[in-house]
């Protein structure tokens, strides 16, 4: 029992004891505060949120504080090992490059910062796009029987497409027109986000459709229909809030998939331009010399996996916090 409940009960007792006391509705407590209270009880989610904020600051403000250009070549300082290697008396370490440098002398920390910006932006944007498409298709297919067949066959069609070849063809076809229209970085960003977005919405759509099919037969939806609530508001008021949990889960998984797909594209050399670091690309570039310089794979790998893990935890905590039954209100 929380403090709030005890106070509320105490108030009830007062009212019960004094029938002349005006029964006034307690001032409404902002529901988002309750959500935040519940979220705070999920230790993993709070830790993950702090970590994600840290990562965000690291990649957003970091380059500005660090000041090193991730693309600057410094052949004299190539293959510097990370500073931790000094612990076991390593060869070439320098406080000027705490994470080390690559075979061209580019500072790894600056690359991770710069690459994180792109990876996070691509991951978030592609995930949001995929969730929007998936939820839309899923809700429409689940709610309107007439469209169910067509939309689900469309979903099957997309699922049957081999994703990577499709993305490669898209890159080849649209890279140059988009580059000339939006500039090299913007153009490729739009292309990658759209590419990943429209090839990863299918699982969300299937999950949402399944849930909507079950939910629309519930009595509260019937009650809304008997009130005369039009379909669009039944969807927004009754169905969407109740399919939030699976959407949330697919969103967190989607972010991970998006970051990894972008890495795969970069790995194949069809992502961002070669001099433009992303986490996936740093990782891909370092694979040939992985045995000699494992840190070059570990840093971006760690960044990707910790971010994905943090987002999963936050999604978990958020899902619990948004469910009034778990919130215990």
């Amino acid at each position: 029992m929380t403090d709030r409940d005890i106070h509320a009960d105490a108030d009830n007792l007062l009212v019960a004891g004094d029938p002349t006391a005006p029964v006034k509705a307690v001032k409404a407590r902002n529901q988002w505060l309750d959500v935040w209270d519940q979220f705070k009880t999920h230790k993993g989610a709070v830790a993950s949120l702090l970590f994600l904020i840290f990562i965000a600051l690291f990649v957003l403000i970091g380059p500005w504080l660090w000041g090193l250009d991730p693309a600057a070549l410094d052949i004299r300082n190539k293959d510097v090992r990370p500073i931790v290697n000094a612990l076991w008396g390593a060869e070439k370490v320098s406080w000027a490059h705490p994470m080390g440098t690559d075979n061209l002398g580019r500072d790894l920390m600056a690359q991770i910062m710069q690459g994180g910006r792109i990876s996070l932006a691509v991951g978030a944007a592609a995930m949001i796009l995929a969730i929007l498409i998936g939820t839309f298709v899923g809700v429409i297919a689940g709610y309107f029987n007439r469209l169910d067949g067509i939309l689900m066959r469309l979903t099957d069609l997309f699922l049957a497409l081999p994703l990577l070849p499709l993305l490669l063809v898209m890159m080849l076809l649209f890279r140059d027109p988009l580059r000339s229209a939006f500039g090299p970085e913007q153009g490729i960003f739009i292309l990658i986000v759209t590419g990943i977005g429209i090839t990863s919405w299918m699982h969300t759509a299937r999950i949402v459709r399944g849930d909507v099919l079950a939910l629309k037969e519930r009595e509260y939806v019937l009650a809304a229909r008997s009130i005369g609530t039009p379909s669009r508001r039944i969807i927004t008021r009754h169905l969407l809030p109740n399919v939030l949990s699976p959407i949330m889960v697919s969103a967190t998984l989607g972010l991970a998939t998006a970051i990894i797909t972008e890495s795969a594209l970069s790995f194949l050399g069809l992502g961002f331009p070669p001099d433009f670091p992303t986490w996936g690309k740093i990782l891909a570039d370092s694979v040939p010399r992985m045995t000699a310089f494992p840190e070059r794979v570990i840093w971006p790998g760690l960044a990707i996996s910790l971010t994905v893990l943090a987002v999963n935890y936050i999604g978990d905590g958020l899902r619990d916090a948004l469910d009034p039954r778990i919130r215990g209100m």
Partner: protein
């Protein structure tokens, strides 16, 4: 008795030959191969201010009938008129302005409230949909409704899972009352509640009826509760109304063999009387509504079955003033006065 004293003046709801069939699809090409005849030709009137009890065993189409009358389904055939408006074939869009006059209270108070909405939001939903009140006016109205159904206003910001079954049913009733309806379909509103709470909710429904002049279609399988609340009672069997009569006469002298069997199943509290009572036990199961028997629907289980029952479907007719029966046993009086359900 109340039956004669409060004789209602005019019918508020007229149901004529209502049919609600659910198609069955099967085979490779999902072709329609049949239909579940959940409601198959139901005719009755509900008078203004009365409570019409609709009883029958589970699966006989009571709930479907109630929902079809409110056009929660697209009905297969027949006509429904509420307060003079023929709504049987209206589109849902045209129906929307008429919705405030007819509301529904659901069976499962847990399932009929959205778990993600506060009580206030649930009761406010009809107001949001049909009125142009300001937020403050809506809040005031929600408070009044909560008072009316006996809920503490302090609970307005709580979620349905924090309430007991009886309280949840009160929330559902408050939602149904929000738009000042004339006609409420109560779809087994007490079936999911404890006996002690059942009485509270039924008394609340009766008080509200008196206060607001409501008309109820009270669907239930609890015969003693229907006896308590209903003015007239319609008995359904396999999608059809077999008997409709005022409460007193129906319980004193049931006409249809099915009604007799049904009423003999009501427990008798007096052991002396219970000893002498004749219990009619029906043999067999209810036939599938997808494949009802030829002739009378009840002919497979009827203790008084005749040859004609297996051939010809009995007409639903008024055999005595105010008493309608669909049975060959009473058909000899002539079929000329087989009119609709007016008393």
């Amino acid at each position: 008795m109340l039956d004669n004293a409060a004789k209602p003046s005019k019918p508020l709801v007229q149901v004529r030959d209502l049919q609600m069939h659910f198609p069955i699809y099967s085979g490779l090409f999902r072709r329609q191969t049949g239909a579940v005849k959940a409601v198959d030709g139901v005719t009755f009137d509900v008078m203004e201010g009365e409570t019409l009890g609709l009883v029958g065993e589970s699966g006989c189409g009571k709930s479907t009938c109630g929902r079809a009358i409110l056009r929660l389904y697209d009905i297969t055939g027949g006509e429904v008129a509420i307060d003079g408006a023929r709504i049987g074939k209206m589109s849902q869009g045209d129906l929307r302005p008429l919705r405030p006059a007819m509301q529904m209270v659901f069976q499962d108070p847990q399932a009929s409230l959205n778990p993600r909405m506060t009580v206030e939001a649930i009761i406010r939903e009809p107001l949001d949909e049909h009125t142009k009140l300001t937020a403050a006016e809506k809040e005031k109205k929600v408070g009044e409704l909560m008072d009316t159904v006996g809920l503490n206003r302090r609970f307005a910001k709580r979620y349905p899972h924090a309430f007991s079954g009886g309280q949840r049913q009160r929330i559902g009733i408050a939602r149904a009352l929000a738009l000042n309806p004339k006609f409420i379909v109560c779809d087994e509103p007490i079936a999911a509640l404890d006996v002690s709470i059942q009485a509270q909710v039924v008394n609340l429904l009766e008080d509200l009826q008196e206060q607001f002049g409501l008309t109820y279609l009270f669907i239930s399988h609890d015969l003693s509760m229907v006896r308590h609340i209903a003015t007239r009672i319609a008995v359904m069997y396999l999608g059809k109304v077999v008997e409709l009569a005022p409460r007193g006469p129906l319980y004193e002298e049931p006409l249809h063999p099915y009604t007799k069997a049904l009423l003999s199943a009501v427990p008798e509290p007096d052991p002396a009387l219970a000893q002498t009572r004749e219990r009619v036990v029906l043999q067999g199961d209810v036939p599938s509504p997808a494949n009802p028997p030829k002739g009378c629907n009840f002919c497979t289980r009827c203790p008084a079955v005749m040859d004609v029952c297996r051939q010809i479907e009995p007409t639903y007719q008024e055999v005595r003033p105010g008493r309608f029966v669909a049975c060959h046993l009473y058909e000899s009086t002539g079929t000329a006065d087989a009119t609709a359900g007016h008393p």
